[in-house]
Structures are given as structure tokens and as C-alpha cells.
Symmetry: none
Subunit: 239 residues, 2 copies
DNA sequence: TGATACACCTGATGA
DNA sequence: ATCATCAGGTGTATC
């Protein structure tokens, strides 16, 4: 089914499979902003990792003292599932997304200064979302795509009209990640090796409850907690 | 206790804790020269590593086929203990000191061309010593400090008078390295991670005996084995 | 072989 | 001055 709002949805980013707004959208009110981070040159460079500021990592992605890494899955603006390895580096005492991150950077064509956003579903906080916007773009886009020059570029977040809010559906036709497991889940590592054990975050199996103190102010220069009210951002999600 | 030889010991390098020649010297005759190496620009640059010429590394610091790194501890001219990570880099087929090396370079203000010296205790070859001298300085200093211009600079090796040879003692009042373990010891790495297992070299626990063929001639352009007889160099040592 | 992954390391920086 | 943080690196293993 083709998009009904060609001005919003026409894109050559996924020309072979454009997202359908009538399929499984996640309303803006359903998504809980967690935090965002302006990307450093290292975050988009050859180090193939994203450093997650410690206060956000420990608040939203607690590892529970686990030294091994986890697999975390996020839904992007197309409903595509992205799995990243999430772990703590003792040597630098920092939390990082490693495996899979470079693919995300490449596909979204992220540059230093662009901003990645992390959100979760309000009622099912095991569903995690990842988005992005170009540097200098407003947090809540007033234009259809508040990014760089060139109208054919997509953003990770969109300003959508309220009437799109009635849409519900599936979205099982986005079979991207070969190693994807479950959106918003984490897979626990056995300890230093490859992740192999499931651990749902914000859901079950882990000693962290679905607490979402989104109203906390930002305390970091290089990242910020999202504390604004309901936004107009929209992710499309599957499952 | 203040130094008695102000011309030799007056220094502002450790003005808060000057070494005392009456405390725990290691006689020249107690130290066995192993080898020395003129420092390359890379050795003192941002690579934070010292390449140890292979013939010296395999002769004096054998890794025993261990792929993981070791922690090696050396006593400097002040009795201060310096711990370095020692490992073999497959990519460059070279033996290197990595962690801790840059701190040594910085503290000693070593430049390219300066020479580092490695020695060990004759009777307790698990005690290792590290020293240095400025480029162009004679191996056996005839002056009190045969280094660069500026009389307040210390050298890693000193020419001392024979009568200082009677001194013995402790030196436990030099608590520098927080992560130091034992002078002249090596700590085996678990494999790519942090070094965590003790492995005394030249002492026990390792399949290498205390063999010291110091008389071998130099075969490297960038380093030389020390084959001269008793020198007048002096290290001060603790423990 | 080249790209990626991964754990480790360090210096700069600001609180 | 000390300390925590993190941006920017490393070598090595894996694919």
C-alpha cells in the first residue's frame, strides 16, 4: 500500500519498501523520550562505537552489575529493528554500543554533530526506539524534514499530523536485521564473549522496573535528557 | 634525612622526597646490565610504547609463548617502582612495553635519542632496574650528571664514589605506584584483558632460569647489549 | 585481506 | 590538586 502523504513519505531512502503510515505506527504519545546525544567524530568514525553518557546509561540501560555485554534492539523510524551490543568498558569506565552501531551510522549517514535519540514505549517499556536528527535541526520538526539541504533525506523523527493517530497495524514486512531478536529486548552476554542470554529490560527478568523519570534535567554538556512534554515525533514500529 | 652530597643529590625533581644515599642503595656490583636502547621518536611519542629489540626481549624477558601480556616492575634510580605492561605484538612482531611507559617518559622527560637502560640484580635477578641517560652522555658518567645543559636535571644513572658502597637499607618510604605489585616481578595477563596472574620472572613460577649472558655483543643498530665490566652506575632500590 | 568487533588505554577536560 | 568522565585511540581476534 502506498503512502497517502507523498510530501511526507515520498523518499528514495528505502525506495524498494517505503514505510506505510497505515501500518503499525507508534503514536507520539506512546513514546517516552529517554535521552539524546550529539554525535562526536568518534561516534561516527572508525571506532565503531557509541559512547553512552554514564548518567543516561545507568538510568535507562542498567547492566545490573553484569560484566558481560547485552544485545539491545531498537526500532527506527521505519520500524526496522536495529540490534546493538551494549557493554561497559572497565578500562574507560564508559558504556558503549558497539556491534551494529557502525551499520546504523552508515545507513543513516550520520555525521558528527548529528543527534541520536533514544526513546521507549510508554506502556511497554521493553520496546525501545532509536531516532536521529541532523545537527541544527529543531527537536520538534516544524518542517517535514528538518535536516540538511536536499529534500530527499529522511529524518529519524517526524512531525506528523494528529489525524494520523488512528492508525494501527502490523508491520511484519520489514525483515531487516538477520540477527534481530526482539525489539526492545536485551540479550545478556555470558561474560566478555558474544552475547547469548536473553534479558528483557524494563519488562521482566531483570531487577530494574519500568521507571521513567523523564523529567530529570540534563546534567551533561554533550548529551541531554529529553524532558519536554508530548512531542510530535513519530516512529513506525513492527510486531 | 637530607642528602649529604648536595652537588649530586640536590634536585628539584622530587624536592618533596629526595632520595637518600644512605638508604638502600644497590651497589654497582649488584646490578647486572642487560641492555640499553636509544629511544626513537616513536618510543617517546604518542604511541605510548617502547619497542624492545627482539634479541634482547627474547633473551631477558621471555614470554614463554604467552599471548597475553605481563606486568613488569622496575626500580628506577630513586627506588621508585615502575610497572609496565609487556607484551608481544603479532601485527608488528615486536615486543613492547605499553601501559605505564608514557608516564615514565614524561616523568624522566625523555626525548628521542636518549637512552634507556635495563639492568637486574646479580643475586636476585627477579629485581629489575630501569635507568636512562641523555643522548651523547657517556655510558659511564665522568661528570656528576652527564646530561643536557642545566645542572638541576637528574640522570637515571650516576657515577658514585666507592665509599657509598657500604650503604644498605630499606626504602619503603617511596610509595609511588598505586598499581605496583612487586619490583622485578611480572604479572601474567589472562589474555587480552587486564594482567591478573602473577608470574615472577628470573625468580620462580616461570620456566626461565636466571641466565645472564651479558657478554653477548650487540647485534642491533638501535640498541646495544651492555658488555662492559663493572660500571659506576647506581640505582637506589626499595624492598 | 579488509572490515568489523572488542576489550583495553590515555590524555584532556571540567567539576 | 584530585578525580570522574569520555573522546580518541591501540592491538588482536574474528569473519
Amino acid at each position: 500500500m502506498e503512502p497517502t502523504q507523498s510530501s511526507l513519505w515520498s523518499s528514495n531512502f528505502y525506495p524498494e519498501k517505503p514505510p506505510n503510515p497505515n501500518e503499525n505506527p507508534v503514536f507520539d504519545g506512546e513514546r517516552e523520550p529517554m535521552f539524546e546525544k550529539p554525535l562526536t567524530p568518534s561516534d561516527v568514525g572508525k571506532l565503531n562505537r557509541l559512547v553512552i553518557p554514564k548518567q543516561h546509561a545507568e538510568k535507562y540501560f542498567p547492566l545490573g552489575g553484569d560484566s558481560g555485554g547485552l544485545l539491545m534492539s531498537f526500532e527506527d523510524e521505519w520500524g526496522k529493528c536495529w540490534s546493538f551490543r551494549y557493554s561497559y568498558w572497565n578500562s574507560s569506565q564508559s558504556y558503549v554500543l558497539t556491534k551494529g552501531w557502525s551499520r546504523y551510522v552508515k545507513e543513516k549517514k550520520l555525521d558528527a554533530g548529528d543527534i541520536v535519540l533514544f526513546q521507549r514505549h510508554r506502556r511497554d517499556c521493553s520496546r525501545l526506539f532509536i531516532g536521529w536528527r541532523r545537527r541544527g535541526a529543531p527537536e520538534v520538526a516544524e518542517t517535514e524534514c528538518g535536516g540538511k539541504a536536499g529534500g530527499d533525506e529522511r529524518c529519524g523523527l517526524y512531525h506528523v499530523h494528529p489525524y494520523l493517530g488512528h492508525i494501527q497495524g502490523l508491520g511484519a514486512n520489514v525483515p531487516y536485521q538477520p540477527d534481530r531478536l526482539h525489539a526492545g529486548s536485551m540479550i545478556q552476554n555470558g561474560g566478555g564473549g558474544k552475547p547469548n542470554r536473553l534479558l528483557r529490560l524494563f519488562g521482566v527478568d531483570v531487577d530494574v522496573e519500568c521507571h521513567l523519570d523523564v523529567s530529570q534535567p540534563s546534567t551533561s554538556e554533550s548529551s541531554s535528557a529529553l524532558s519536554q512534554g508530548p512531542t510530535t515525533h513519530l516512529f513506525y514500529s513492527q510486531s
